[in-house]
Amino acid sequence: MSEQILRVQGLWKSFGGLRALESLDFTVSEQQIKSFIGPNGAGKTTLFNVLTGIYPPTEGTFEFAGKSLNGLKPYAIARRGISRTFQNLALFGNMTALENVMLGRHIRTTTGLFSAGLRLPGMRREERAIREKAMEELRFMGLENRATMEATSLPMGEQRLLEIARALATQPKLLLLDEPAAGLNMRETAKLSETIRMIRERGITVMLVEHDMSLVMEISDEVLVLNHGKKIAEGGPKDVQRNPEVIAAYLGEEAGDA
């Protein structure tokens, strides 16, 4: 639990004149569950987007398992072992739940156009393995009964779980969850909390962006608070909760600006 798996140094992201991330420094340790919280617009999803290569950073570096990720495209970053879910869901609506998760196995498999087209024996073996692994992840998330349903026909809560299953299928070392509890009721959130713990037990490090404070407080080893793209606090959940700057950021932005 002491190895640094992700190191972010001096990260800046500007969109024209808008500063989305400012001078961000932090690290994430192996198998840690680290949450990122902050008021809306604080830059949390932008951070995830930069870390997964969707936007290049304006300045700064980020290293994963000791190697720099700067300039890598999203698919390359996925291959290095970082996987994610999306705040607004990005399932493949034209495929079933099972097929979505099977796609997650893409980077761990190799069948190319010709072996696929000619249906060579190696391809068939691999296809069976893909299907099995995908079903495993569906079972892990409790969705095995939904396998053959169209992914976007599932209720919202299950769609979020499905995205996690898909991300897990890539066998990531680091999993980025972007508001996984959005739209979940209390029972579902409790189950999610349990699931995230089980994910950590599988050896996966988890970074979480969340608004649901009870979930954050319950499962996080560390919490980092962002406001206006800057880090304003970092530490254990209880400490962060008591931090006056954090409280001010959440409650009294208007009052503070007055």
Binding site: I54, P74, Y75, G93, E99, H106, L113, A116, G117, E126
Partner: protein, 319 residues
């Protein structure tokens, strides 16, 4: 592949085998289905590109033409063996598709459509202007028929050749669709953002499927050239690219069966419209518009949902 697909495939293969016998060797009906098969090969490739991978090409007649002219020119002017010309056509088509595809498939929606349109038009001009090689607007004649062990492949034999291609390519296509590669293509269509995030290099797959569809078109072009023994640029014009697009869309871009159905409908339809040639273009425009407005998923899906509704009515009536 799935059982439904397998049965449909077998049914088509069986029909193909029996067809020449069923029409009593009638050359007109046989050539009609030869053209259907040729068009079907192109539309299968287009379906992979448009239906599964979600891209668009409004210039595919160009690749059809490259295959046809490769076979035509190389066999007539340079005495290359038809099989060799066929392979060179595939190589040329694939290469050009790769070169053109890389920058074009990066473009978004409308830009991609117009870029492929422009590309198709440029090639049309080239076919017309390179007269010493292609014969220009007056066309290229004297393309040799294919022979096997000295006997020329004509009529029913050519029919079997073309449909052997159709069946084999159908099997290949279905295999690809139901594989890791097919899933990657469909993922790119479903959400390019998520596909990339899950490690699928979307841009590479888009170009790959574009090249594959160009190769299908080239094969069809070569088969066409040796069948009609005379080719001219007018067969590879914008209108044909649009017709191909229509076949895929009208039949149902979403599946390979839809593409074949569309090829069937739009190859056989002009035969019924014979004599009404003046209205041909109008008919195409009207059909396309009606399908887009009322059956945007294509005829195949339209029929399926209609059947579903009828079944629903039936079971309701039984209560």
């Amino acid at each position: 592949m799935r059982r439904k697909d397998l049965y449909t495939l077998l049914a088509i293969a069986l029909l193909a085998v029996l067809y020449p016998l069923l029409v009593g060797g009638n050359q007109y009906f046989i050539s009609l289905l030869v053209f259907l098969g040729i068009n079907g090969i192109i539309t299968m490739g287009l379906s992979l590109l448009m239906g599964y991978a979600g891209q668009i090409s409004l210039g595919h007649a160009a690749f059809y033409g490259i295959g046809a002219y490769s076979s035509g020119v190389l066999t007539t002017k340079y005495s290359v063996h038809p099989a060799g010309a066929f392979l060179i056509g595939i190589f040329l088509s694939g290469l050009i598709a790769w070169l053109v595809g890389k920058p074009t498939l990066r473009l978004k929606g409308h830009y991609m459509a117009v870029a492929t349109l422009g590309f198709g038009e440029i090639l049309f001009v080239v076919f017309n202007e390179l007269s010493p090689l292609t014969g220009g607007p007056s066309g290229l004649s004297g393309i040799p028929s294919l022979t096997i062990f000295g006997t020329p492949l004509e009529g029913a034999m050519y029919f079997y050749l073309v449909w052997a291609f159709v069946i084999l390519l159908l099997i290949f296509s279905l295999n690809v669709i139901n594989s890791r590669v097919g899933r990657a293509l469909r993922a790119v269509h479903g959400s390019e953002l998520a596909a990339n995030a899950m490690g699928v290099e979307a841009s590479r797959y888009k170009v790959q499927v574009f090249v594959l569809s160009a190769i299908y078109a080239s094969m069809a072009g070569s088969l066409y050239a040796h069948f009609v023994t005379f080719i001219s640029p007018s067969s590879f014009s914008l209108m044909f690219s649009i017709l191909l697009l229509m076949m895929v869309v009208v039949g149902g871009a979403g599946t390979i069966w839809g593409a074949l159905l569309g090829a069937a409908v739009l190859t056989l339809l002009p035969e019924y419209l014979r004599g009404l040639e003046d209205f041909e273009v109008l008919a195409y425009g009207a059909i396309l518009m009606i399908v887009l407005l009322y059956m945007p998923q294509g005829i195949l899906e339209g029929m399926r949902s209609l059947l579903g509704k009828v079944k629903g009515l039936g079971s309701a009536a039984h209560e």
